[in-house]
């Protein structure tokens, strides 16, 4: 039972990590673009 808990937790957390890495890589780039546009307009 305890084996299963930790195995499932590790599997879930790895899947979450992969998904979030892809999501952040794409959408975080968009955030940076918007921030830089905002800073440029203030110069």
């Amino acid at each position: 039972m305890e084996h299963w808990f930790w195995s499932v937790l590790c599997a879930l957390i790895l899947v979450w990590y992969i998904v979030v890495t892809i999501l952040v890589a794409i959408k975080g780039g968009g955030d940076i673009k918007n921030m830089i546009a905002k800073w440029k307009s203030q110069i």
């Binding site: 590790c10 990590y17 979030v20 952040v24 975080g28 955030d31 940076i32 800073w39």
Partner: protein, 490 residues
């Protein structure tokens, strides 16, 4: 023995370093004032916030400390990560403390305390935050140097040079670009770090087999590796300290709070916390798997006592193939650079904003303020180098991080909660909480070095000291706050 190939892996690392430092230097042109330098103009959105918070909270020292937990305690070593993730989710969901903090638009925690407790408490809080933070951060550089020296196969004599080079690389863009550079490089570092870690963990699991890893944990650590409550060495005291540390660090650790304060609004700050919370389990689970893989590969006899922390880097140096080891070193450098840059700017902001407040009184020009912040970041870099070279770490690295963190986490969390939600709180209570919260962990660190007291201190253990500190700081706040009106009346 390492598979690191200087032509192939070395080029991968150099390309990564050149790319990050160039990006960090390129955005320095957008720094116009102190607000930009310290909080990136309070314009950070959700995904960049998640990348930055996650990258900051995962450094080489954290990875080594948590791999050590995996090696020594098996899956029970992931417990602090579960506590941290739970704490961050709850705080993000409810907005507990972070909502009033972000709504007030302060730069640091002590600035918030000034309204409730006065200028002296603001100054004292700044001193405690910097003291606890720098002692905590002081061991980062040496751990990073040890990791890179082992994985890249340098002679141990080059350790100091490796440490200096890591620091210089980070200091250059942090000094010039401040928080703007930190956020941009954090994004690159999060992506590089995550890709490297995911590949390495999957490769090790496939290579050794998950069932075989579980078999080694069963054989070498027994049932306590799956049940933290059952362990003689982990146990209830440590779990209680993990939970208290988790909530306190989520609420008050300056590098975490600076992400809340840099967010474009309160809702975004709360969403950054909710979105990042599962990463805090990753932060423990991924290194714990690496530690368990090291236990499986080397067994429990080769690395014992203080050498346990070397098991994970030695495994990676031996097992990973050429090319992948370059990606791993880049990933770990990414993790460490993001942590060091964020920590340096976090502590410099507190020194300038709160400790130096009686000198500049908030009246210095932006130009002078920027110059002083840059000088402070440089000075912190020099301190880190000297402390990292000088301090001999004894025992469990995670315990050291918890004990030094407790110096400020205990009192600052009490002050923050009281400032936000307890009307009778006053400066007497705040000073008493700061004193008690600081003195107990410092006593622990000093007495464990003194021969006459060493054995007794070891018998009591760091967990009892830690838990006592939190409750004593809260009690001091209550007693001090009640005492002031009572004395004034009588």
């Amino acid at each position: 023995m390492t598979n690191f190939h200087f032509l192939i892996d070395g080029v991968i690392v150099i390309v990564y370093l050149a790319g990050t430092i160039t990006a960090g230097l390129w955005v320095r042109r957008y720094v116009k004032n102190l607000n930009d330098f310290l909080l990136a103009g309070r314009s950070v959105n959700l995904y960049l916030g998640i990348a930055s918070l996650a990258a900051t909270e995962f450094g080489i020292a954290t990875c080594m400390a948590n791999a050590e937990l995996g090696y020594k305690y098996g899956f029970a070593g992931i417990t602090p990560g579960i506590a941290l993730a739970f704490a961050m989710f709850v705080v993000g969901w409810t907005g507990f403390c972070v909502k009033p903090l972000r709504d007030r638009e302060v730069t640091t925690l002590p600035e918030l305390f000034e309204d409730k407790f006065g200028t002296k408490v603001r100054w004292a809080s700044g001193v405690v935050i910097v003291l606890g933070g720098l002692l905590n951060m002081g061991v980062f550089l040496r751990q990073a140097g040890i990791f890179l020296t082992v994985v890249c196969g340098f002679e141990m004599g080059y350790l100091e040079i490796v440490m200096t080079l890591i620091l210089l690389g980070v200091a250059v863009y942090t000094i010039l670009g401040g928080m703007i550079s930190v956020f941009i490089t954090d994004y690159i570092q999060f992506v590089v770090m995550s890709i490297g870690l995911i590949i390495v963990v999957l490769l090790l699991v496939v290579k050794f087999g998950w069932i075989d890893l579980l078999g080694s944990v069963d054989r070498l650590l027994g049932p306590s590796a799956y049940n933290p409550f059952a362990s003689e060495t982990y146990g209830l005291e440590r779990i209680l300290l993990d939970v208290l540390t988790a909530f306190a660090s989520i609420l008050t650790w300056q590098t975490i709070i600076s992400r809340v304060l840099s967010a474009k609004d309160t809702t975004t700050a709360k969403r950054i916390f909710i979105g990042t919370s599962p990463f805090l389990i990753v932060r423990f689970a991924v290194p714990a798997i690496l530690g368990i893989a090291a236990l499986h590969y080397f067994g429990s006899d080769i690395f014992t006592g203080g050498e346990v922390i070397m098991a994970m880097p030695n495994l990676l140096a031996t097992v990973l193939p050429v090319g992948l080891i370059g990606i791993l070193v880049s990933a770990m450098l990414a993790a460490d650079m993001s942590t060091n840059s964020s920590y340096m700017i976090a502590w410099s902001s507190v020194i300038y904003n709160d400790i130096m407040r009686p000198i500049h009184k908030g009246l210095w020009s932006n130009k002078k303020g920027l110059l002083w912040n840059r000088i402070l970041i440089g000075a912190i870099g020099v301190f880190l180098l000297l402390y990292g070279l000088w301090y001999p770490l004894k025992g469990d690295l995670w315990v050291y991080l918890q004990v030094t963190g407790t110096i400020y986490l205990s009192s600052m969390s009490v002050l923050l909660i009281a400032a936000c939600y307890w009307r009778p709180a006053n400066n007497w209570g705040a000073i008493a909480a700061i004193f008690v919260g600081g003195i107990i962990p410092i006593l622990y660190l000093v007495l464990q070095e003194v021969d006459a007291t060493q054995l007794d201190i070891l018998k009591i253990g760091p967990y009892k000291f830690g838990v006592t500190t939190y409750f004593a700081a809260a009690l001091a706040m209550v007693l001090g706050s009640k005492l002031k009106p009572f004395i004034k009346k009588t």
